[in-house]
């Protein structure tokens, strides 16, 4: 540098040459500046494009799920007057436990009565009901049998079993159409397909169209999807109630186990733990645990809870335990963050007034950190609610036809139900059901997350 400076000084100053040079440099800079500004603009456009791409993916995801799932909440059904004809329902009175009869013996007699109930031709009641509404199809009772879904006859049976006094009365029933009929009427199958590729015979298809035109079959909002468990024999009535209860039990277990334990260990690590190698290991360990793939927790559950401890397969208890272990790191990390956010002056003030360390934490720090902790807990629960992979490994992907009454009963969960439905062979029908189940799951998760955001907004303290 210094040498060039001195050499410049030595030279005689030539204003014209300098001006020329300046002009030249200006041109170079100007031409390159245009290029650089162009580059700047492209770069910026790329950034904006990436953001738009991201938002587009969000829109595409929600849009396609809503488009597929919303129509599935409406389903073909018909409201028919069912006459509980005593001529068709010929059974003895409901057995009552006699004196001197052991419960086991009574149960045997009761089962015999139930079997007798099962023999009654309940289908005839439904067919008669439909014919009453559309008398011109009286001679097509065979086709009529495949118009409505098969489990409706069991529903009638169960009602009479509960209340035999129904016999002889007439009641209006909403009867769901068969899944294939629903697919045909909703246009989810190509109507021009040849007969051998259609699920329904031409006669049934024609009958379905006729009933629809007559206004007997209507497309009405389907509440069964919320009330019924899964069903294989009668897909039209399959619902989410069983999966919902399974998920509910698991979430309760997660809330009861994971949040208290997580908060307690966060308090210990953040406020009490001495700084030594043991707590260092625990720290590193928790951070890594948060990033372990969820399926590994499933393997843990399969090996320990089921393989060694012989807990029941497919039970929400095991699922809840596995999900609790999985959400534990999330709860610990968020709780620690919100404890850290409480300024040290609060602690110093409490300690200065003579509070013990535990009193400081429980009376002053924890209440201030509570909104953050609750938010973290809710986010952890929402994460657990949507988890599928570990549940598959502990047998929760089994088909369960009942709503579980306790956490020990066999059950599925909402995300697992989605997995099961997307794999169902009756694709035309279950694609809608799958998307509908996703809508329910997403609605629950969005609800939980909004609750978390609301809590944070409402109770957030800015220091």
């Amino acid at each position: 540098m210094s040498t060039t400076n001195t050499s410049n000084m030595d030279q005689t100053f030539d204003p014209q040459a300098a001006a020329e040079q300046r002009e030249k440099r200006k041109k170079i800079i100007e031409s390159s500046l245009a290029k650089r500004h162009r580059k700047e603009k492209t770069f910026r456009m790329f950034g904006f494009g990436a953001v738009i791409t991201g938002l587009l993916f969000v829109a595409l995801l929600f849009g396609s799920i809503l488009a597929k799932g919303l129509p599935a909440f409406w389903q073909s059904s018909m409201t028919v007057p069912v006459f509980f004809d005593p001529a068709i329902i010929q059974i003895g009175p409901k057995p009552v436990q006699k004196e001197g009869e052991s419960p086991a013996q009574f149960e045997e007699r009761f089962i015999a009565w139930q079997t007798e109930m099962g023999m009654v031709d309940w289908d005839a009641l439904i067919v008669n009901g439909i014919v009453k509404k559309a008398p011109e199809i009286a001679n097509q009772s065979d086709e009529l049998n495949s118009i409505y879904t098969s489990s409706e006859s069991y529903r009638l049976r169960d009602m009479v079993m509960k209340d035999p006094s129904l016999i002889g009365k007439t009641q209006d029933f909403k009867i769901l159409a068969d899944a294939n009929v629903d697919v045909w009427l909703a246009g989810n199958i190509d109507r021009s397909l040849p007969d051998e590729q259609q699920q329904l015979s031409p006669e049934v298809r024609q009958l379905a169209d006729q009933l629809k035109a007559d206004g007997v079959i209507t497309n009405s909002f389907n509440t069964e999807i919320f009330k019924n468990p899964d069903s294989r024999s009668s897909p039209a009535t399959s619902g989410l109630a069983g999966a919902f209860m399974g998920s509910l039990f698991m979430m309760l277990i997660v809330i009861v186990l994971s949040i208290p334990v997580g908060v307690a260990s966060a308090i210990y690590l953040e406020e009490f733990a001495p700084k030594n190698w043991i707590t260092d290991i625990i720290e590193v360990n928790i951070n890594n645990l948060a990033a372990v793939p969820s399926i590994v927790f499933g393997l843990l559950g399969a090996a320990i809870f089921i393989g060694w401890m012989h807990m029941p397969l497919s039970a929400p208890v095991v699922g809840g335990l596995v999900l609790s272990l999985m959400t534990l790191p999330t709860v610990i990390i968020t709780t620690r963050a919100s404890l850290k956010a409480v300024p040290p002056s609060i602690r110093q003030a409490a300690l200065g007034l003579g509070a013990s360390r535990l009193q400081t934490v429980f009376h002053h720090v924890l209440p201030l950190a509570l909104p953050g902790i609750l938010t973290g807990g809710i986010i952890g629960v929402a994460q657990a609610l949507g988890e599928t992979a570990p549940l598959l490994l502990i047998g929760m992907s089994a088909f369960v036809a009942n709503v579980p009454a306790t956490p020990l009963d066999q059950s599925t969960a909402l995300p697992v139900q989605i997995f099961l439905w997307q794999g169902n062979e009756l694709r035309n029908f279950f694609e809608g059901r799958t998307a509908a189940a996703i809508i329910v799951l997403l609605a629950l998760m969005i609800g939980l997350n909004s609750l978390a955001i609301w809590l944070r907004k409402k109770f957030e303290v800015r220091w």
């Binding site: 953001v51 991201g54 419960p103 399926i295 490994l393 997307q422 694609e431 996703i438």
Partner: protein, 459 residues
């Protein structure tokens, strides 16, 4: 019975708290001058309640663990020798259930054998004695604890320190749960994987190029258990995912951190992060119902044969899933780069994009690489998307338009369905899980180390 007992215990504990409270208050004197006491009255109450509750609950737990095996022994004692010889575990439990049904008065539908009746009679007696004994022992333990603790209450008694010691231990135990989980994961996977390696040579597993485990019903380890095709599938799918997520995610982070107006950022960032909260099963269904058929149609249009379920479909959708992961981590790191670096570069005449590309990104690079590694470990461990959308063909090929199989798909396939838990076909899942665990753990440790080092640099 247990519920009743727990209810009784809780009631006694509540009383114990009150006893401690009133006694300490009485000690404090008429003017309720609690400065006389070492601790506040509530701590005396809590201490009495702890003395009362902890031993009683421990006894109850141990009792409940031991009881069933004693009852079973009682029943078996009544079974004649020749019948006992024929019992296997399944029929034993059936017989025990029958006897229990008889003893509870529910009865059985057929006529019970004489020995069953005798066993039921005995069982009934023992059950009665047992439940009374349980009630008596647990309640008296609680009462003894109550009385002993109450007698220790004195003015100078350091109740608060005692209670706090118990609480401290409880908190420390809770933080041990996380350690126990890790130990549980490592131990269970390791022991089950070892059982698998007793069937199959580890070298054949780790370096085998063919995956064809056969069916567990054959009861033998026949078949080939080569890890490489699965690992290759995993790498291919995650590679595609990263190819999608890294450019998009990084550009999103740069735009939102450097260019976007605060008002735009404040809604765009959470909107994109919505993608991170969506369950993976939803992405799987999305891939299967929307992206897969779309890719197939697109391929048909340009004359390419694209499978609806392929590495490309799964990787693309997985890429969408990890976009917010990359973008918010990189965003954090980019905003952490000190203002002074940017000002220096802008002051020298660099444009904004030049500053970003030549100053900000190089300064943030370690952190960004850490974010990529975390995203990669996320992609490798992802299960539901690949289960639904990657197809399942464990072959070594390099065509991303065809179906592949991954480590996670195989774990799910080997452990669901009718598999015998002790067969190598099921146990291989644990060896695969162990491999997965080690890979993701390694990536995480490196990533967290880099991110932490980077943070220290600018603190």
């Amino acid at each position: 019975m247990n519920l009743l007992l727990i209810g009784v215990l809780l009631a006694i504990i509540a009383i114990a708290y009150q006893v401690g409270l009133t006694k300490s208050r009485k000690l404090a004197g008429k003017g309720n001058n609690s400065a006389m006491l070492h601790s506040r009255p509530g701590y005396y109450g809590a201490l009495v309640a702890l003395w009362c509750g902890i031993p009683a609950f421990l006894i109850l737990i141990v009792w409940n663990l031991v009881e069933p095996s004693i009852f079973q022994q009682v029943i078996l004692n009544h079974v004649p020798e020749r019948i006992r010889a024929t019992l296997d575990p399944a029929s034993t439990s059936v017989m025990v259930e029958r006897v229990q049904a008889l003893a509870s008065g529910f009865g059985v539908s057929d006529t019970p054998a004489a020995y069953e009746l005798a066993a039921a009679e005995q069982l009934k007696k023992i059950e009665n004695i047992g439940s009374f004994a349980k009630l008596a022992v647990v309640v008296s333990a609680a009462l003894i604890g109550l009385v002993m603790a109450k007698r220790r209450i004195a003015e100078k008694y350091r109740a608060r320190n005692q209670v706090e010691k118990v609480l401290n231990v409880a908190l420390a135990l809770c933080s041990g749960v996380a350690i126990l989980t890790t130990v549980g994961i490592v131990m269970s996977m390791f022991s089950e994987a070892m059982r698998f390696f007793s069937f199959v040579n580890p070298l054949d597993f780790f370096f085998g190029t063919e995956w064809n485990p056969g069916f567990s019903t054959s009861g033998s380890a026949e078949g080939s258990y080569g890890l490489l095709p699965l690992l290759w599938g995993t790498l291919m799918v995650s590679g595609i995912a990263l190819l999608v997520a890294v450019p998009v995610g990084l550009m999103i982070a740069i735009y939102l951190a450097e260019y976007a107006k605060p008002s735009f950022r404040s809604w765009a960032k959470p909107a994109i992060e919505v993608l991170a909260g969506i369950p993976t099963i939803v992405y799987g269904v999305f891939a299967l119902m929307v992206i897969g058929p779309f890719a197939k149609d697109l391929g048909a249009m340009i004359g390419l044969d694209i499978n609806a379920t392929s590495a490309l479909t799964a990787g693309f959708v997985m890429g969408i899933m990890i976009i917010p992961f990359v973008s918010s981590l990189s965003d954090d790191i980019i905003t952490q780069v000190p203002r002074a670096l940017r000002d220096g570069s802008l002051g020298l005449g660099a444009t904004k994009s030049e500053t970003i590309r030549q100053v900000v990104i190089p300064a943030a690079l370690p952190g960004i690489i850490g974010a990529f590694l975390l995203a990669a470990s996320r992609a490798i461990g992802e299960t539901m998307i690949v289960v639904l959308a990657a197809g399942n063909s464990p072959l070594l090929h390099i065509n991303p338009l065809e179906a592949v199989s991954t480590v996670t798909i195989t774990i799910v396939n080997q452990l669901t369905g009718d598999t015998d838990f002790a067969s190598p076909q099921a146990l291989v899942a644990f060896a695969l899980g162990l491999t997965l665990f080690v890979i993701t753990l390694g990536l995480n440790i490196v990533a967290l180390y880099i991110v932490r080092k980077y943070r220290e640099q600018y603190e």
